[in-house]
């Protein structure tokens, strides 16, 4: 199976190579070689034990090689966050759409560009930062992303620079003649004490069949702070493989919020390396799945240096025959003392057929550390349900309310109110009987 898929993508690579940009060819070919070497993951790999990608590999997805896809104004209206003052880089079926986008003015301090339209100076920077810390050896899909690297976003904030508004990267997929794959690549590089807020939205339209295979690389230099959001609302028939790698230097901070609501088969990997004293990462995640959806979140935090901290909260709501996987690994390396690492994963199962496989993993090679972790799986609390009903709330509304309250524990951790409120609405829209509880939203 995996060999047939490799052969397919090798042929696909050859087909596209005629119109490839050329400038990043060395990395692409090296990644292609990496793909040939390692192949795609299967359930025999421990990290993919519960996520079987054979159905994805069978699809023989091809890349959309024309960049004239667009999205109508009305549909854009539903995709954009209403009235959020932000910059937007919009990609349709893997290609940057400048007409739909609004970028900040680029200069010495701030440089934001799509990869496909990057000028020579930006290209040089991309080549410098690409895979500096992330690796195509992570898994076959990461290699595939680099091998097909064609578009995405490059964000650079120089030392002490602050991007004044959130950057919203919007990856839209709509119906095409054949099912397709896109490989968006994002590089977010923050200089010392730089600050930025970046939202990645993955949106499927028209019940399209496709695969998004995305990689985001983040580097936070000393004292930098990145607020990163990922909103995954792919279509019901879509596959989504996402890999985020972050390298955090001294006293820098990454706050990651990952919300997965859509897709048929979804895999999110987040690897963060705390590489300097005082670095902190907050990992916040919410997944809501129903029907036959499969959502897998794998996170890894490496505490390489002393005095680093991590704080992780993932929650899931599963209905129908949905299946979710959570694996949170925390590694405290030798001599990395004075570590504070907290992790929790809570799951709400709304049906008898829903399933969660949750596994917190701690590997600790230092002795002066404070690490806690916990995982819970449960149903709605009967006492809470009865309490609400005894206060005249009908059962359906009470259930919906408690489900929202459970999910909202994750959303509440978003400190930036304009984004928190908008994400809250997306989450509510995904819950059953949401209209009943609209007045509970503040």
């Amino acid at each position: 199976m995996t060999q047939a898929a490799i052969d397919h993508y090798l042929a696909e690579h050859k087909r596209l190579s005629n119109n490839s940009a050329g400038w990043i060819e060395k990395q692409r070919l090296s990644a292609l070689e990496s793909l040939g070497r390692q192949g795609f993951p299967s359930t025999r790999h421990e990290a993919w034990k519960y996520t079987d990608v054979r159905s994805l590999l069978k699809q023989n997805f091809i890349s959309v090689d024309t960049d004239d896809s667009t999205v109508g104004a009305e549909q854009m209206q539903t995709i954009r966050f209403p009235d959020l003052d932000c910059y937007e880089l919009v990609f349709v079926n893997g290609h940057f759409n400048s007409a739909l986008s609004s970028l900040p003015a680029s200069g010495e301090a701030i440089n934001v560009s799509s990869i496909s339209t990057a000028g020579d100076d930006v290209r040089a920077k991309i080549e410098q930062y690409l895979n500096q810390y992330a690796s195509t050896d992570k898994h076959g899909f990461a290699a595939l992303n680099t091998a097909f690297l064609n578009d995405g976003t490059f964000i650079h904030a120089a030392d002490n620079a602050q991007i004044d508004k959130p950057l919203h990267l919007v990856f839209i997929s709509n119906k095409q003649n054949s099912s397709f794959i896109a490989h968006p690549r994002n590089l977010i590089i923050l200089g010392s004490n730089a600050r930025a807020t970046v939202i990645e939205s993955y949106i499927g339209l028209d019940n399209a069949e496709y695969c998004t295979n995305t990689v985001t690389e983040i580097i936070t230099s000393e004292g930098a702070h990145l607020e990163h959001y990922k909103l995954q609302q792919e279509s019901d028939l879509a596959y989504h493989i996402g890999y985020l790698h972050a390298h955090c230097h001294k006293d820098s901070r990454l706050d990651s919020h990952s919300i997965s609501l859509g897709g048929l088969l979804v895999r999110n990997d987040i690897d963060t390396v705390l590489a300097g004293r005082g670095a902190h990462v907050g990992l916040n995640g919410l997944y809501i799945a129903g029907n036959n959806q499969h959502i897998d979140n794998h996170t890894r935090v490496d505490h390489n240096m002393p005095n680093t901290s991590s704080d992780e909260t993932y929650r899931g709501v599963l209905d129908g025959k949905a299946r979710a996987v959570f694996n949170g690994k925390v590694v405290v390396h030798k001599d990395a003392q004075q570590i504070d690492a907290q992790q929790s994963n809570a799951n709400l199962l709304m049906s008898d057929d829903a399933e969660i496989d949750t596994k917190p993993e701690l590997e600790i090679y230092a002795d002066d550390v404070k690490c806690t972790h916990g995982a819970t799986i449960g149903q709605l609390d009967e006492n809470m349900l009865f309490y609400l009903r005894s206060r005249a709330i009908d059962e359906t509304t009470a259930r919906s309310l408690l489900t929202f309250a459970f999910a909202d524990e994750v959303i509440k951790r978003i400190s930036f109110a304009p984004i928190r409120e908008r994400l809250e609405h997306r989450v509510v829209g995904r819950l059953p009987d949401a209209s009943l509880i609209s007045e509970f939203l503040q």
Partner: protein, 251 residues
């Protein structure tokens, strides 16, 4: 208003209520007293419709309707309120929004127009004074981070806002210091009127110094073994449950 006739109830296979009968008329305050394990809380929960209690015999009629056929929310719409012995903390569900939804669900079920935000806020500001709670409590999650006393005051506040016809107070006095007990009792007394019936379930006579009942019933082994006026509570306080239970057996 409420007519309980030969009620039998059990949890799993354990019989708790064994032929309990009780008549509560409009405007009356009844105290149900009894030792631990006598079935007091079971009675309160069966009346409010909590799951897990099998009714194996008897009947409960409320305003001419078969109460046992009604869901908890239908009972609330019909004017029944239970003040919980252990009020539940519900993080993420806002106190004030819950109450507004509750008030409007009740109004809707009666064909009345729903209160808008301004009208509701005025109602809340008026009622919250009864239990001497700060308004900022209301913007928190339901009972979230409340002390034991604050939770009980919140129950009485909710009762004040929901204006039930029949209020069942399940050990509302338990865990309260004397100041909180007075506040809770004052709140209940303020809500007492000729239209509203109240059933107080309590272990101690203490509460009844502040809320003087019209009737006192002694519950033991799932049945009411003795009924009387408010003086019966004082007798219980003096003699203890055992003496009263022995006398009842002898009779």
């Amino acid at each position: 208003m409420l007519s309980i006739n030969d009620l039998h109830s059990q949890i799993d296979d354990k019989k708790i209520l064994n032929g309990l009968s009780l008549e509560v008329n409009k405007g009356e305050v009844h105290a149900i007293m009894g030792p631990n394990g006598s079935g007091k809380s079971t009675l309160a929960n069966v009346l409010a419709g909590r799951d897990g209690y099998d009714v194996t015999g008897g009947s409960v009629t409320y305003e001419g309707q078969d109460l046992l056929e009604m869901s908890p929310e239908e009972r609330a719409w019909a004017g029944i309120f239970l003040a919980f012995q252990y009020p539940v903390e519900i993080p993420g569900v806002n106190n004030i929004y819950l109450l507004k939804a509750g008030v409007n669900a009740i109004r809707k079920s009666r064909g009345e127009t729903e209160l808008d935000a301004v009208e509701f806020l005025a109602l809340v500001r008026e009622k919250i004074k009864l239990v001497k709670m700060k308004e900022d409590f209301m913007s928190r999650g339901v009972n979230e981070g409340f002390s034991g006393g604050e939770k009980k005051r919140n129950e009485i506040f909710q009762m004040a806002v929901l204006e039930p016809k029949l209020a069942i107070l399940d050990e509302t006095d338990s865990g309260l210091d004397i100041d909180a007990l007075k506040i809770v009792a004052d709140g209940v007394n303020h809500l007492r009127n000729e239209e509203r019936s109240i059933v107080l379930v309590t272990h101690y006579q203490r509460l009844l110094n502040y809320i003087v009942p019209d009737f006192v019933h002694v519950l033991a082994n799932g049945r009411i073994i003795k009924s009387g006026g408010s003086e019966l509570a004082l007798q219980l306080e003096e003699q203890g449950y055992e003496q009263v239970m022995r006398e009842a057996e002898a009779a």
